[in-house]
Amino acid sequence: MRVVGVPLYLDDKGFDAVAGGLASWPPEGPLLLDARNTKWASPYGFAAMLSLGQALRELGLARPQFAVPEQTETSSYWATAGFFEHAAAMFEVRGRVPRPKRGPASGILLPVTQVRASDDVHDVVERIQKPAAEVFKQLHLESIGAPRFSMALSEACQNIIEHAGTGGWVAVHSYNYRRRLGRRAVEIAVCDPGIGFRQSLEAAEARKWDDRWGDSAALEAAVVHAVSRFRDPGRGQGLAAIKGYLLKWQGKLSIRSGTARIAVVPPWDDDPALERGLPHFPGAQLQIVVPAQEPPTA
């Protein structure tokens, strides 16, 4: 059995380590995802982990085992964030799974939710509007406005419907982003294990890029040049609009697909704009981070 340790912090970088631990894609032999020591997960961590489970299920592979975080506070938060509700269908969950807390949970604007069709996007946006409006007040983001945030969420979710060729996952939380930002932030994560940017754009773009064509070129085509696989003149503007918003909001957009990640990097972050040679993971994993407009906390 291959044991893949889930890092202490399961965020975008933490999930890279998980993808690396798989060694190959698809992973060979039985798999144990060991999250016993994990202390924290971001929306990206939840959505990407469920995408991993979904990908293995869609490939018809044996259900991997998933060892639950041992810290009660952590596992309780994961339950409230909706992770275990969906994980049970994809993993053999090992360990004690607490009940989700009832009522509004601190910071969870949208528990991890499956997106498969247009109606799911309507449902997600309907559910996010009230909590987003409240959190935007707390985070002094009134000038941005919760409606624009919901529009960005809608466009991000539509990437699954329009391009993934399968379903995916979305989650939205606010949290204190101490490690990189030093203040609170709201994060949208939208992940799928579908065909990814390279395959989606291959027919339309590969020839233009010649031997440069690959995951990073596909991300560059989509995010920098607003290219879409559809020929309609209005296509490709969803990501472009999100990018425009995040530049205004000093927010961060990052998208991982295959072996590459592209990011619109704000001044508070030091991620590279483009990373190549990451451990392969199918589909597309998108993250949007909007920082609070407030002084950094100590």
Binding site: D123, M151, S154, E155, G234, Q237, G244
Partner: protein, 177 residues
């Protein structure tokens, strides 16, 4: 003279769950299809799409409902938008400007405006036509102290974009509610 269509009416039935939000391309395509049918069946050449009871509009849906509607509008048909809030206007302006499309809108506080592609010359001439009513090229040229050729070029552009009505050398504002 003008057909008013409440956009939220077309949203009902286009989405399985009750909603006021115009989101996603499939929803937008369904709503546009119904609007196109309503316009085709109407006697009035100008349709006013009322967004007053619509919640959110995302960019993809704005593209499907407004940009694609402008592209498929039959000859002799005109569209005006009203009831837009700031984020509606932002999304619609964004998708139209990227495709060099334009539409006349009636802001919530009255008057008129244009969203999408509009050069300074187009705006200047629209100001004259919408403030002073129907007139010819010479009137616009005199009013703006332009050559008749420049005024004619701008008026022709506005007519081709269906931002003004053109008939027999006279250019008139679209009827706005």
């Amino acid at each position: 003279m003008i057909l008013t269509l409440r956009v939220d009416d077309f949203l009902r039935g286009a989405v399985a769950i009750p909603t006021r939000d115009l989101l996603t391309r499939p929803t937008g395509a369904a709503v546009r299809g119904r609007i196109v049918s309503a316009i085709a069946a109407a006697e009035q050449p100008t349709a006013c799409l009322d967004f007053g009871a619509v919640g959110l509009i995302d960019f993809s849906c704005a593209d499907e409902v407004v940009a694609k509607l402008l592209r498929v509008l039959a000859t002799g048909r005109y569209v005006v938008l009203r009831g837009l809030d700031d984020t509606h206007a932002e999304a619609i302006h964004y998708v139209l400007a990227r495709q060099e499309l334009s539409v006349v809108v009636v802001p919530r506080d009255g008057g008129w405006d244009v969203l999408g592609y509009a050069t300074p010359d187009m705006r200047a001439v629209l100001e004259v036509v919408y403030a002073e009513g129907p007139g010819d090229t010479d009137r616009v040229a005199r009013r703006l102290d332009w050559t008749p050729e420049r005024a004619a070029d701008a008026l022709q552009t506005l007519a081709l974009r269906r931002l003004v009505l053109a008939a027999g050398g006279t250019f008139a504002p679209l009827p706005v509610p």
